[in-house]
Each structure stands twice: as structure tokens, then as C-alpha cells.
Amino acid sequence: MMSHAAYVFASYGIAILTVVSLCLWVIADGRARQRELRELEASGVRRRSAEVSSGETR
């Protein structure tokens, strides 16, 4: 039989682990997508709307 404190710490431990992993996943996903966008832009692929708006401001 675990002490009551052990149940409390297990709950908070799992909650912190879950929330931190979720945050890290969202951050890592965002960084990976931004890197892909930068690579595409570097290889000369641009969004059509971006071409139109840069054309208008000229």
C-alpha cells in the first residue's frame, strides 16, 4: 500500500510529464515545419499569393 503522498506525487509527476511533452512536441513540430518552408523558399519555390502581393507593392 502506497502512502497518500505517493499518489499525490505520482499524479503531479505524470501531469507535468504529459504537459511538458505536449509543449515540446508542439514546439518541435513548429520548428520542423518552419525549416521546411525556409528550405523550399531557398530552392526558389514561392507561394503564388506572395508573388502577387510583392508584385503589387513594387
Binding site: 505524470i14 505536449l22 508542439v26 513548429g30 518552408l37 523550399l40
Partner: protein, 253 residues
């Protein structure tokens, strides 16, 4: 001001993904800081307030269990609203919002189930019972997983969005079942003690940390949801740019 301005003046301006990205960039640091602040105060209150005269220290599990359970239902409600946005108004960001919310909702539902189990063992003497509340929340968890699998199974968001929206709306019937399960059936899980028509029946000593933690979890949800929506918009841009590149490569060849 030209029409191309990215300033948001009307709610409908949010329908433009580029405007949404600009707004998200501005909001996210503030939301994240506010979330962290509420968590610091909430966790401090959670461990400094007194224990319950009957439950002792285990009452502190409530400060993560209850907000996680609220969030699991609120997240599904946000997805149901987004599903309406997809089917009724064909809002371009509605499907993005629904897709981005599913993994976050699954995490909160998982937390509600696990912390509930860790609270149930010392207080009820059982890790799990198949009563109406626990079973309906478990079904909610399975629905989140099913929706995530469906979203990943179909490549083209234009096609998968309607199917997934219909499924989200059908599944929404589970939300009132979860909420009222403790009243409709005889459950081991206790009935509501905070959101009641006759006001909370919980002592202010426990209500204070609970409310602060609930605000912290809600802010966390919106921070993560906006960030995940931004990721989803970027993901779609990468896909369409790759297609565009493949098409122009095909023309040149």
C-alpha cells in the same frame, strides 16, 4: 489603408490564414507568459492549502484532475464548434482548428483518466470501475484517438475535413452524457460540486487553488491550440508548395 493590410479589424478577417499567423505571433508570447504565471500561483496554492479532514493529502490530486477533465470536454466542444464552421460556413481555419485540437484534447483526457485512477485507488479502493462517468470519459479518449487516426489517414485536407467534421459532431452527443452521467446513473464517481445550479458546495480553501489551476489549464489549452493551428497552417503550406514545385518541374521536363 490598402486592402492587403494584415491588420485585423473584423472577426471575419481571422479567416485569412496569413492574418491569423500574424496575430498568433503577437499573442503567443503573452499567452505563454500568462499561463506560466497562473501555473506558478496555482501550484503554490495547491501545495500550501490545507488537506481535507477525510481525504487528507489526496485532495491535492483534485487540482490537476478536475481542470484536466474540464479541459477534455471543453476541447471537444471547441472541435464541435470548428466542425460546424467547416460544414456550415466553410471557414478556412475551422478544419485547421479541429485538427490541431485533437492531440491536445487526447492528452488532457489521458491526464483526467490517470489522475482519477490515482485518486480512486486510495479513496475508493479501486484503480478503475466501469461506472457511467469513467466509461464515458474513456469513450471520449477513444474518440480523440480515432479522430487523430482519421486525420492522418487521409492526405488531402479538403476531402478529409468534411468526414472528420461529421464524425466530431456525431461524437458530441457524448459530452452531455459525460456531464450528466453522475446524475442520470448511480455512479461511484461523485456528482458535480463546483458547476451546480445552486452554487459550489466545496469549501473556499479548496475552491481557490482549483479555480486558479482551472484558469492555468485553460490558458495552456489556448496557447497550445493557437501554436498547433499555426503549425498546421505551415504544414499545409509546405504540402502545397511541394505540389507546386512538382508541377513546375513537370512542365520544365
Amino acid at each position: 489603408m490598402s486592402e492587403n493590410s494584415l491588420a485585423i479589424r473584423k472577426f471575419s478577417d481571422l479567416a485569412n490564414p496569413t492574418r491569423f499567423l500574424a496575430l498568433a505571433d503577437r499573442m503567443l508570447p503573452w499567452l505563454a507568459a500568462l499561463t506560466a504565471l497562473f501555473f506558478v500561483v496555482g501550484l503554490w496554492l495547491s501545495f500550501t492549502t490545507e488537506g481535507d479532514y477525510q481525504q487528507g493529502e489526496t485532495v491535492r490530486i483534485m487540482y490537476v484532475h478536475v481542470p484536466a477533465a474540464w479541459l477534455s470536454m471543453m476541447c471537444y466542444s471547441v472541435m464541435a464548434l470548428a466542425a460546424l464552421g467547416t460544414l456550415v460556413w466553410r471557414h478556412p481555419l475551422a478544419d485547421v482548428s479541429s485538427r490541431a485540437a485533437a492531440p491536445i484534447g487526447a492528452c488532457f483526457t489521458f491526464l483526467a483518466l490517470v489522475t482519477g485512477s490515482l485518486w480512486g485507488k486510495p479513496m475508493w479502493g479501486a484503480w478503475w470501475v466501469w461506472d457511467a462517468r469513467l466509461t464515458s470519459v474513456f469513450v471520449l479518449f477513444l474518440m480523440y484517438l480515432g479522430l487523430m487516426a482519421l486525420n492522418r489517414a487521409m492526405d488531402d485536407p479538403a476531402r478529409s475535413s468534411r468526414v472528420s467534421a461529421v464524425l466530431v459532431l456525431v461524437g458530441f452527443v457524448n459530452i452531455p452524457i459525460i456531464k450528466f452521467s453522475v446524475e442520470w446513473w448511480n455512479t461511484l464517481h461523485q456528482p458535480a460540486s463546483v458547476l451546480r445550479l445552486d452554487g459550489p458546495t466545496i469549501d473556499p480553501e479548496f475552491l481557490r487553488p482549483l479555480v486558479v489551476m482551472a484558469i492555468a489549464f485553460t490558458l495552456l489549452f489556448f496557447t497550445l491550440h493557437i501554436a498547433a493551428m499555426r503549425n498546421e497552417i505551415w504544414r499545409r503550406r509546405v504540402t502545397s508548395l511541394r505540389r507546386q514545385a512538382a508541377r513546375s518541374a513537370g512542365r520544365e521536363a
